[in-house]
């Protein structure tokens, strides 16, 4: 009676990534109202710089009044459903993206397609570049949402490019060739490579050498290169952010029709609710087809209008990017030092809204079962919703993505205290051996049992 997309549940939202969310929503932490609730550290949102936007709005009351140059723009906006988008908005986006790249890349508004968030941009690109049954190679670990966004309704497959902690997760030629071969063995036609730069979940930006290698590879194989650069404005440390388009320019490939970039304002500006995404492509046919497809998810004209005004203010955007990066770095440093005190290390990051945390030493065995067991303890007992590496398709158990930009300083303190307490208790348990059961231990066991049975039966309904 229903389509196979409905019956098969191939939306990917039953993964642990989403289940942790559900539990958070049942028992969310609040400093005063629910201090023992679960702290949300699985949400890659940037909530650090709203005050800057709010104060800009205070200074620009005319943006809403719907009056522009003494004429009401309301009627125009209410009726504006042209999938080419508000010209002023696209131009402002182009300028903003250029600023983030230190003006090393120029963006032409005519090569831009507006979409309802990067979720829609990524799906639309797959519909345009690949047929059902084709494959895209993606460096793992990767954002769990890709399993839905890239595969669900498109029928496209993802073949992971294995990256390992031993070399800092660098993308190597061997790993690329290996992934390509594996796809071939599975009878999958590879249509392209998609990277997230800076990486989610790693928080590291792709180096110039890696980008060069990737472009050489995709060019030789005559396949597409998609750079999901939605975190480009969050790079707060060296090495500075390098866009795939910058390296393409250096290689005289800047007009190459197989290179595409995805962008969004959800992370850099912290505006995920507004659903602002885009595809940037040199390929006219892709722009043309994707523009038509954007009818299925256009950006509200009201939102385009607000953001066109906001982003056209060059002084504001310069100040915002600088201050935002500073706050992200401070917050990252606080998380890293807090974890370090507990003897926990992280991958050295230079961007993003999260850290890739190493908890391998806390695993009872080097397996994903042990990782899952550790994760349930952390969510249920410690009360932190973090994302297990397996949900990000990590090859090695024991790594977790921990977000830091969606909570207040005080909440971060609480989270760190809990981590310290947990690690101490684990150390205690190890020292005292299994015979000495503490009350805490049996409580933990019963909570885990309750938790595991909940996880296996519950249907996740929350958004990421």
């Amino acid at each position: 009676m229903l389509s196979s997309k409905v019956i098969n549940e191939s939306h990917g939202q039953d993964s642990s990534y989403f289940l942790g969310w559900q539990e958070y929503e049942k028992n969310p932490f609040h400093e005063t109202l629910n201090p023992s609730g679960i702290v949300q550290m699985g949400l890659a949102e940037n909530q650090l710089s709203f005050d800057l936007i709010e104060s800009w709005l205070d200074d620009h009351p005319e943006v809403l009044g719907l009056k522009k140059n003494e004429e009401s723009v309301f009627k125009h906006l209410a009726l504006f459903q042209d999938y080419h988008g508000l010209p002023a908005f696209k131009i402002a986006m182009a300028k903003f993206m250029e600023k983030i790249r230190g003006s090393k890349v120029k963006f032409n508004a005519n090569k831009m397609v507006l979409t309802a968030g990067s979720t829609s941009a990524n799906e639309t690109l797959m519909f345009c570049l690949a047929n059902p049954g084709d494959a895209f190679l993606i460096p793992a670990p990767y954002y769990p949402g890709f399993d839905r966004d890239l595969k669900w309704r498109t029928g496209v497959e993802i073949v992971p490019i294995h990256c390992v902690s031993s070399n800092g997760y660098k993308i190597t030629k061997e790993a690329l060739e290996d992934a390509y071969e594996r796809a071939h063995k599975l009878n999958l036609k590879v249509k392209g490579v998609l990277i997230t730069n800076p990486s989610n979940p790693l928080g590291t930006s792709t180096t110039r050498d890696e980008l060069d290698l990737l472009l050489t590879f995709t060019s030789a194989k005559k396949i597409h290169m998609v750079g999901d650069e939605i975190y480009s404005g969050t790079v707060f440390d060296t090495p500075e952010f390098t866009s795939v388009l910058e390296v393409a320019k250096d290689k005289n490939m800047d007009l190459d029709e197989k290179i595409h970039v995805v962008y969004s304002l959800s992370k850099d500006l912290g505006l995920p609710g507004f659903r602002v995404g885009l595809i940037y492509s040199n390929n006219e046919k892709v722009v043309s087809a994707a523009t038509k497809m954007s009818s299925f998810g256009l950006i509200s004209s009201q939102t385009q209008h607000l953001l066109a005004n906001l982003l056209s203010d060059e002084r504001f955007t310069t100040k915002y990017l600088e201050e935002n990066r500073k706050r992200l770095r401070e917050r990252r440093d606080r998380l890293v030092s807090g974890l370090k005190k507990a003897g926990i290390g992280c991958l050295k990051s230079n961007g993003g809204l999260f850290c890739w945390v190493d908890l391998r030493h806390l695993l009872t065995s080097n397996t994903f079962e042990a990782e899952h067991s550790l994760w349930t303890k952390i969510v249920c007992e410690v009360g932190l919703n973090i994302s297990p590496g397996s949900s990000c398709h990590s090859d090695e158990p024991g790594w977790f993505r921990v977000c830091f930009a969606n909570i207040s300083d005080q909440t971060l303190e609480v989270a760190m205290d809990r981590v310290h307490g947990f690690v101490e208790a684990m150390v205690m348990n190890t020292n005292h051996g299994k015979q000495k059961r503490t009350m805490w231990d049996s409580r933990r066991r019963s909570l885990i049992n309750k938790w595991v049975s909940k996880l296996s039966s519950v249907q996740c309904e929350s958004e990421r």
Binding site: V6, L57, G65, A78, A116, E123, L129, G273, K292, S300
Partner: protein, 497 residues
């Protein structure tokens, strides 16, 4: 190794979906739009430009909306009164949508159905306009290769929205002018059989009520028959009700939500409604589409799919506040209907005076105009010829019936709610001039041979491609068309006796 030609390389580089023309925009239908875009009418700047009568938009009540927004600064997150909500709204991306938004939309849907039905806010799923809603419903109910039955004529956009990325087929249910384009059980059964013979598993029936392009509403008996048909065949019924509040005059809109209460043993898991604020509120730019399903599983999955086209939280916030204002909403709906009725009357009175027929209907933002007697031959080629004359010479962009899959050439959809009074006057004047030129040509041909005039008149060479006898062949078939009588009893009822 043989090098690939550039074209073949292109083919391999993009998906079949992107390389093909499933988007439907290569159809001649868009030539009218292009003509308009190249030379848009403006009363002062471009008085000879093309008047846009192919765009079904409700532009008559923008003033009411604007006034409300200015009086309610708290509904915006950009004002001093509303900015304290800014950060909460800006981060809100939950695909359940703001609860107050869903409640307000549910209430609005009830009001536009005269409060005869209740809508559950928890069944409201967001989508990127009705465009996104239709595609989502198709993804949920059908697999590639399956089919939906759709009564003709229908909205041309369905070819893209329901088929392009989903791989679903549309199987026409042919409706005829001879009975006012009513949907008959015979036509439904014939379409179902056609699909079977073509090996297309039918998964549902899609109706648009009120109809685009006809502007008619389905009466209660007809709706019940449709529900019974789909229930018996165990296929889905999708009711596109985006024009629910655009009824005026004597027309009564009855929602499928009301009718399912009256059909015993109706399996509600098969019933789904597509809704939007683009037509009823005249807000297409805000992209507010809704999937409302009585099937829990469909609600669940459509909600997950809504991630691909959520309504901007800024817009949800504004709409939640606006639609919660009962006095404003009641006043808006009332005034909108009055203004639609007035503009509709202006157009139809003008056409009546010129002897041009139109399908009697009391809803929508357009009329279904009858120009069959202007066709040289009763063919779609002739229709296209006539249409080109209307677009390029008369300079009105109207939609030819062929683009709406009408089975009979000569019908045109003409929109009236997207222009002001003066533009409407100009449009009617152009039609008047056009028809009088046709009559002149007709009279000239029937006169006895006379000495050629001293001054050669400017020859309207395009007129020779039209049938010239116009005035005497006005159609008054069976009371379905203007200028007389109400719509007779539904043929579906007669068929059951």
């Amino acid at each position: 190794m043989v090098a690939l030609t550039a074209a073949k390389q292109d083919q391999n580089l993009l998906s079949r979906m992107a390389a093909g023309d499933g988007h439907g925009e290569n159809s001649a239908y868009f030539d009218g739009w292009k003509a308009y875009e190249e030379n848009p009418f403006h009363p002062i700047d471009r008085p000879d430009g093309v008047i846009q009568m192919g765009l079904a938009e409700n532009q008559l009540c923008g003033d009411l909306m604007r006034k409300w927004i200015l009086e309610h600064p708290e509904a915006s997150i950009c004002t001093a009164e509303g900015v304290n909500h800014f950060s909460d709204i800006a981060i809100f991306q939950d695909y359940h949508g703001l609860p107050e938004f869903r409640q307000a939309v549910a209430k609005f849907m009830e009001k536009t159905r005269n409060n005869k039905v209740k809508f559950d806010p928890d069944r409201i799923v967001m989508s990127g306009g009705a465009t996104g809603a239709h595609e989502t419903v198709a993804f949920c109910l059908a697999n590639p290769g399956d089919g939906f039955l759709v009564p003709t004529p229908y909205y041309p956009g369905f070819d893209r929205d329901l088929r392009w990325r989903t791989g679903v087929n549309l199987v026409p249910v042919t409706c005829h002018s001879s009975n006012g384009f009513k949907i008959t059980v015979e036509a439904l059964e014939a379409a179902y059989e056609n699909a079977r013979v073509s090996n297309i598993p039918v998964k549902g029936l899609l109706i648009t009520n009120p109809s685009n392009p006809l502007g008619t509403t389905l009466d209660r008996d007809c709706l019940k028959s449709l529900v019974k048909f789909t229930n018996d065949k165990r296929i889905h019924l999708i009711a596109d009700e985006i024009y629910a509040a655009t009824t005026f005059g004597e027309s009564e809109f009855i929602s499928v939500a009301e009718v399912i209460e009256e059909v015993p043993d109706c399996n509600r898991d098969l019933i789904h409604i597509v809704y939007s604020l683009s037509k009823d509120m005249g807000l297409p730019g805000l992209r507010v589409g809704i999937v409302y399903s009585y099937n829990d599983r469909v609600v669940q999955i459509a909600r997950k799919m809504s991630s691909f086209g959520l309504v901007s939280s800024q817009t949800q916030h504004l709409i939640a506040k606006m639609l919660s204002d009962d006095d404003f909403v009641d006043e808006f709906i009332r005034k909108s209907k009055l203004r639609l009725a007035a503009r509709h009357a202006e157009l139809t009175t003008g056409l009546d005076g010129l002897g041009i027929g139109w399908l009697k209907a009391g809803a929508g933002l357009f009329i279904w105009m009858d120009l069959r007697n202007l066709l040289k031959t009763a063919t779609f080629d002739s229709e296209m010829e006539l249409w080109r004359v209307i677009v390029h010479k008369v300079k009105l962009n109207v939609s030819p019936g062929g683009s709406c899959h009408c089975n009979e050439p000569g019908w045109f959809r003409v929109c009236f709610a997207n222009m002001d009074h003066k533009t409407m006057e100009t449009a009617l004047e152009r039609i008047r001039v056009f028809t009088s030129q046709l009559e002149e040509e007709s009279l000239k041909l029937t006169k006895p041979m006379a000495a050629p005039p001293m001054v050669a008149k400017k020859k309207m060479c395009w007129q020779s491609s039209l049938r010239l006898s116009f005035k005497d062949t006005r159609r008054f078939d069976e009371g379905f068309f203007s200028p007389r009588s109400p719509v007779p009893q539904s043929p579906l009822v007669r068929a059951q006796i």
